[in-house]
Amino acid sequence: MTRKILRINMTDLTATYEDIPEKWAKWAGRGLTTAIVYDEVDPSVHPLGPNNKLVIAPGWVSGTPAAPSSGRTSFGGKSPLTGTIKESNSGGLSSQKLGRLGIAAIILEGQPKDGKWYYIHIDKDGVTFHDASDLLGKGMEEVDRIMWERHPNEPAVIGIGPVGEHLSANAGISVNDPENNPGRYAGRGGLGAVMGARHVKAIVVDDKGGPGVEIKNKELFTQGRRKLTKAILAHDITKPDGGLNLYGTDVLMNIINEAGGLPTRNFSSGQFEGAAKISGEMIHEMVEKRQAGMTGHACHPGCVIQCSNIYPGPDGSIIASPIEYETAFALGANCGIDDLDFVAYLTKECNDLGLDTIEMGNTLAIAMEAGLIEFGDKVGALALMEEIRKDTPLGRILASGVATTARVFGVHRVPVVKGQSMPAYEPRAIKGIGFTYATSTMGADHTSGYTIAPEILGTGQKVDPFTYEGKAELSLAFQATTAFIDSTGYCLFIAFPILDIQEGFEGMVESVAGVMGWDIGPNDVVELGKEILKMERLFNERAGFNKEHDRMPEFMRYEPLPPHNVVWDVPDEELDKVYAWVHEG
């Protein structure tokens, strides 16, 4: 079946299937959410107003048989956190189910005239609107459970917690995992508030009896997915019992800490003395010791990497899933908290209330810097989360993220770019990632610029890792390749094997070319990615952003980061090279 656009209008409660216009026909995932937002959302609209839209799209290969680790769903709109265009993507059940229903994208627009809240059910027979008034105020754990009780076939549940209902700027969008836990998040950028502004509490997707994904060239697709799978299973990071499978993404905690690049106590140090206690190795030890929970968990069916985990409490009952590196950094090291159980309790609160864990942890660190509680006060941190649950004015401030909280409490050490706070790599110590933080169309974002070795991309450049020379081009190549991978439906972690194993990179491209019936090769990836980046960059320019917004926070330029005592010293003109091409030629 040919893919369709599903337009859901909340103003008149209608749902229509539309043919994909030619201008969007080649896109999927991030490419499609970006193209639709670029064409249909005026960059000057208020993100929470009636004219912003939430676009949801599976990737090119999502829902195809046996494409490895291909369960990412892309969410796009104008961000209430950054004011830029935003693409945030998530694992969980939704991507493959949308793909198998033949849906290229959902465009969620309008606002109900009656002010009521709804949830939406989608299956092969169409779309139904349901009264959601009994779900209001409920956390995502309960919402997921109720949706599975009410609807058969273990559907995907895309939903927002109370924070999304309140239209707070740090509201994420939850997607349930195969165990129906709410831990998979399109977390960054406040897209949960964009969904909340449409008065949609949840979207339930049941793919039973769906037509499946059309594959134009099955032979090429099969060849590609086999090559990609082989690369994933061979690489030390992604293979069974490799680093990610054994210890999860939190395998990076001790590495980045030993390197002196772990943001600690609101980005005031690059090392945390309690890092080992909140690391992936410790998660593994606790799962073994408590004989409960698991490591090597798959966040969606068909994942061959399986980097997720289910973390057990002291009595063996499950606290939260997953504890990721970013989560453990933000709610742990950056708050000076070295107790993994409390990191898990805080994660559970974020997952249930509907908050991005990175932004939330960094916000708690700002509250600590402001003196509301002390660094390391784990009980106090949970009490601040309770303020959000009770919906107090303080809770509303904290749910608005780092920049807002810092402004309210007069904190000047504010680790944000374009209003979004930084992930778990200190750019003063690890400058390569800083280029991406500064220039990304998304604000400070580690997933915008996952690298690809330049020789694989065919740019032929030899890059000296120790100078700025060539870094701008390299960062652009990374960002463009990431935009492509974000459009495939594959998990971004395939970047690890495919950047090291040429055959894996070819396999990714061939599997996409097989689905779409294209004749493209590895050398086309950067150009396609740049098309996506150009739309995002132009949207941002029209929303009022320019190169002066591609800057690191001032304190990083004068405050030396221990233990290496380095500052951010990359010249602005080097950063400006990354996107100089947008208006050339």
Partner: protein, 114 residues
């Protein structure tokens, strides 16, 4: 001299840990990383990333740190071969002169699997 050592991953077993261990090791002076591994009964093949005082000295499979001299009160972090630090996160990290030199002359941008 006294060295503070952190062991990460399966190699923690040599100090009684499962996935994590920290210990202090007394070594006669002068001592090198090779001597430390000997004393811990660690096969260099099992060790991947090596950090000394937050400076990256080794990557999986290179064994460039074995002749590095250790000093009293040094901290050394030894990772099992299963730990890999992807290239892009290494970009700009502080490295030993020996590792820098190797990477500059061998175009060692990528992790070499297998």
């Amino acid at each position: 001299m006294n060295i503070s050592v952190s062991l990460y991953g399966p190699i923690a077993r040599v100090a009684g840990g499962r996935h994590l261990a920290t210990l202090n090791v007394e070594l006669p002076s002068p001592a090198h990383v090779r001597d430390l591994l000997n004393q811990l009964n660690l096969d260099p093949e099992e060790v991947g990333l090596v950090f000394i005082n937050a400076v990256l000295h080794d990557l999986p499979g290179l064994h460039l740190s074995l002749d590095e001299e250790l000093h009293d009160q040094d901290h050394i972090g030894l990772f099992s071969a299963v730990h890999v630090w992807p290239y892009h996160y290494r970009g700009g990290a502080v490295m030993s002169p020996r590792l820098r030199e190797y990477m500059a002359t061998h175009d060692y941008l990528r992790h070499q699997p297998g």
